[in-house]
C-alpha cells in the first residue's frame, strides 16, 4: 500500500506549480507526522486502559506504540528539515509554530524511555509510564489544535493538500496515509510479538530453573515485562 502511494507520488501526482518537485516530500513527511502523532495519542489511551484495568498488556501496548512513534517522529523531523532546506533555505525555522511544537512534543516523548529506565520497581514503572503517556497524549492534540487555531501559518497545511489540490494529489496523499498507518500497525504487531515471545521465554526459564532459586540474568530494562 505504501509502495503504491510512493509510486503514485512519483508517476501519477503532478509536479506542484508553486513548490516544484520538492512538494513530493510531503507524501512521506505528512503521513509520517500524522501517524506518529496518532501513535502518541493511542499510547495515552492504552496508558489510561492500563491505569483502569491494571493489565500489564495495556502497558506493553502503550510502550510499543510510543516507541514506534518516536522512531517515526525522528523521520518527521529529518524529512521536514530536508523540505525546509529546499524550500526556505534553512534546516530549521524557529519562528514557525508547527515545527517548534513538533520538536517540543518529540523532546517530551524522548524522556519516556529514560523515565521508565530510571524506575526499578516494575509495578511503579508501569504506573508512572502510563500516567506520563496519558498526560503527554492529551498534550499532543491540545498543542496542535492551538497552533491550528492561531494566526495564519507559513507551514503548509495537510488539509489544504487534500481539499484544494487536484484529485490526483488527494488520492496519492490518502493512499500514502493509509499505507503509513498499515505499516505502523504491522510494525507494532511485530514488536509486540517479539516482546511476548521474550516474556514467554523468560517465564519458561524461570519454570525450568525452579521459581525459588531462579536468579534473573536480565538487567534493568525500560521495556515492560509481562
Amino acid at each position: 500500500m505504501l509502495t503504491t502511494g510512493f509510486a503514485l507520488a512519483f508517476f501519477y501526482a503532478p509536479v506542484d506549480a508553486d513548490q516544484g518537485i520538492i512538494q513530493k516530500i510531503f507524501y512521506v513527511h505528512v503521513p509520517l507526522a500524522i501517524v506518529a502523532l496518532c501513535g502518541f495519542v493511542a499510547g495515552g489511551i492504552f496508558g489510561a486502559m492500563h491505569l483502569r484495568t491494571r493489565d500489564a498488556r495495556w502497558d506493553m501496548r502503550s510502550y510499543v506504540v510510543i516507541h514506534l512513534s518516536i522512531v517515526l517522529a525522528v523521520g518527521v523531523l529529518i524529512t521536514g528539515s530536508i523540505w525546509a532546506r529546499a524550500s526556505w533555505g534553512q534546516w530549521f525555522v524557529w519562528d514557525e509554530p508547527m515545527l517548534v511544537v513538533f520538536l517540543i512534543v518529540f523532546l517530551l516523548y524522548a524522556t519516556y524511555q529514560p523515565l521508565r529506565f530510571s524506575i526499578e520497581d516494575r509495578e511503579k514503572q508501569a504506573r508512572y509510564a502510563s500516567v506520563f503517556a496519558v498526560t503527554a497524549g492529551a498534550f499532543v492534540p491540545l498543542c496542535f489544535g492551538a497552533v491550528r487555531m492561531a494566526e495564519n501559518l507559513t507551514h503548509p497545511q495537510a488539509a489544504t493538500m487534500t481539499t484544494s489540490g487536484p484529485a490526483s494529489v488527494t488520492t496519492t496523499f490518502l493512499v500514502s496515509l493509509v499505507g503509513m498507518g498499515l505499516l505502523f500497525v504491522t510494525l507494532c504487531k511485530y514488536e509486540m510479538a517479539s516482546k511476548n515471545a521474550t516474556a514467554k521465554l523468560r517465564s519458561l526459564r524461570r519454570r525450568l530453573a525452579g521459581d525459588d532459586d531462579f536468579v534473573s540474568t536480565a538487567g534493568r530494562s525500560a521495556a515492560p515485562q509481562l
Binding site: 510512493f6 516544484g20 518537485i21 520538492i22 513530493k24 516530500i25 512521506v28 513527511h29 509520517l32 514506534l68 522512531v71 517515526l72 525522528v74 523521520g75 529529518i78 524529512t79 530536508i82 523540505w83 532546506r85 529546499a86 505499516l183 510494525l187 511485530y190 514488536e191 517479539s194 515471545a197 521474550t198 521465554l201 519458561l204 526459564r205 525450568l208
Partner: protein, 68 residues
C-alpha cells in the same frame, strides 16, 4: 535554470525518501537481531528440556531387557 532547480530539488526528494527507508530498515534490522536472539534462547531451552527427558525415557527400555 528550471532544469537546474528541478535537479537540485530531486536530490532533496531522494534524500527524504532515503531517510525514511533507512529508518524503517534500521528498525527492521534491530528487530531481526532480537528475533534471532529469541530463536537462540528457544533452542537453548529445547536442549535443556531434552536433556531432562532423556534419562526418564531410558529407564523403561532397560527394564524390558531381561524379559526378552
Amino acid at each position: 535554470m528550471d532544469a537546474l532547480a528541478i535537479a537540485a530539488g530531486d536530490g532533496y526528494v531522494a534524500g527524504a525518501y532515503i531517510v525514511f527507508l533507512t529508518l524503517i530498515l534500521s528498525y527492521l534490522a534491530i528487530m531481526a537481531y532480537k528475533l534471532s536472539r529469541i530463536e537462540r534462547e528457544v533452542v537453548e531451552i529445547a536442549d535443556i528440556v531434552e536433556g531432562r527427558d532423556r534419562p526418564v525415557e531410558a529407564k523403561p527400555a532397560r527394564a524390558k531387557e531381561p524379559v526378552a
